[in-house]
Symmetry: C3
Subunit: 254 residues, 3 copies
């Protein structure tokens, strides 16, 4: 299986699918192609949350503000999965989670012609490399001549929250399609507080295990499906109701 | 084959695909993931129209305003198909059509842990159940220990139109992406009237078998691909031109 | 493999997928379903650019302003591929490119019932025909009784640019999702000019091989992944910055 992720919109992903289908018979599954343009952090967040639900697979990822610069192309192996994409950090959070706590992902540099000679790396560099990795198998990807071992890939870390006895200062990592503002504060801080309340930036908000525990249109603080604290509205948009956006700081006190 | 339907937008459907691919090798086909949020009726309408074109399959459906409440999860068997989703009526119109006129769908309750313990039922309840049904096969789904037979699922009916000798009062069931306003009035009422005209809410409108029978931008009344009377504009939006929306009443006189 | 292309948006493509899956076990790959409504030229452009990356396949294409008129349905064979769709020119540029320079595509008329009897040709005419072609194989599609050989399909040509010693007058063929304005001027005219500049409608603009060669938000003239001259902005929209849209004329001087 090869999964495909990009910020291309439509119809450029089809070119990558054609290239893959021309080279191997892998099943192809779309993760998403509508990630915010050139927003490496948002794509990295979602890949970290989504890829662990997949069986071992090759994951082709193209969110790449640096196309045409001298940033490298990389392939990373972790937990039986391979991830192929630009060396800008987008692969690393997912790879680390797939590798598990004590392992480091193997990283390879993907050899390709002069970057200035191609404008569509997804089609001309990454999709062919993903197909090659799928063809030989993740275990044996090190045998591919286009992969140079022991690369030192660009990292990407999400900010750590500041959790204290009285509360936590965190950051909104992403806002999902429903408008839920997903923070970097771990859900564990809300243990024992369900049915109660916290203050968010000074305003009292109920803490509930599910959206439907409050009335339609009402705000709540909950733990989302990713395990983090989320600012939400039942059947509405949390980002609007809490007036927060990606990258902004949130103060939660209990 | 497992088809997937939701109101999730992007990228949450990928989590369900990962769960399914981790459990079985079913082909996965998307019906749609952009149905109006938590609009059970619209999803139910489209499933009823679309699923009969599929070969026997497992259909995973997650349009679920009641996530986190005590609404049950159900699986329904009809005409060789299985439908898995929340017990809120969204599966029933399609199941009844797949079952045929004289049969009732078999309904099972899907056992799962305390609803309050999971916020993402699509990923954690419905996708695993759909994969289990696919694994054992629709005919033998009754053998699955997570399925409790003889459930009494929530129903959902579309309103009946009021058809008389002089005309019909109906309701707009959905507006499609093209802007066609699809009513609940059966297309048969227009038999013998093509090339003529009716009045819609008092205004005279031509009745034609195809959009292109009127000029670009002109209104028409026609029978859509679903067999119902449709208010349309050739190369334009019927909902705007007729000033109607989902749930509104329409009076057609001939 | 059967690829699917339409201007249907959602969820009508699912009906075509159901019809295909009911008739054959072809892999199905979406090219795009969000092409501009009834815009035959834009779809034709993208199919010409994208289909050559696919292995031999059956390509189902439904962008069809003439549904319900007497326009024919056709199937075209070129370079081991088959294309099935309305006879309005949408298939021809791709078919000619797939056929190669010296070959003409074989064209067949697809027999079907009275056009006025069906409103959804994608589901009721084109998808079944594509499944039949896939079933018998592209090489033997001429044996199908629903295909009448030696059709004379409607053509579609993109305008030729006017390239002279001092510059070129071209036309914007399409604007892609990124906002890049893709012209009909062949990229070769920029050979030897990278790192320099040209004037576009009288204003000086740098010529660069990649977007990232200019600062974020700055304009450039480049050669896109399709090989044509493109008016672009690094990390921005070229159509807005150059104030051009599909079908408009552009004058480039060097």
């Amino acid at each position: 299986m090869i999964t495909l992720t990009s910020d291309f919109g439509s119809p450029y992903p089809a070119a990558m699918k054609g290239v893959i289908a021309s080279r191997c018979d892998a099943r192809m599954v779309d993760i998403a192609h509508d990630f915010p343009r050139q927003d490496v952090r948002t794509a990295a967040f979602w890949l970290r949350e989504l890829l662990p639900y997949f069986p071992p697979a090759v994951h082709l990822v193209v969110v790449d503000p640096g196309v045409g610069t001298d940033r490298a192309a990389i392939a990373v192996r972790a937990g039986g999965h391979a991830l192929v994409g630009p060396d800008n950090g987008v692969l690393l959070p997912a790879a680390r989670r797939l590798a598990g706590r004590d392992a480091d992902p193997d990283a390879f540099e993907v050899e390709y012609a002069d970057p200035a000679s191609v404008t569509f790396h997804g089609r001309d560099v990454f999709a062919p490399a993903a197909a090659e990795v799928h063809g030989v198998g993740v275990d044996r990807m090190g045998e591919l001549s286009l992969l140079i071992p022991d690369a030192d890939p660009e990292g990407l870390s999400f900010p750590d929250p500041d959790v204290g006895a009285a509360g936590a200062s965190g950051e909104v990592l992403v806002v999902d399609d429903f408008g839920n503002a997903i923070t970097n504060v771990p859900g564990e801080v809300l243990e024992g507080r369900f049915g109660g309340a916290v203050t968010v930036d000074g305003e009292t908000v109920p803490v509930e295990p599910t959206y439907a525990a409050v009335g339609a249109g009402e705000r709540l603080v909950t733990v989302g499906s990713h395990g983090n604290v989320e600012l939400a509205v039942n059947r509405g948009r949390g980002d609007d109701a809490f007036d927060v956006d990606t990258g902004e700081t949130v103060r939660i006190d209990w």
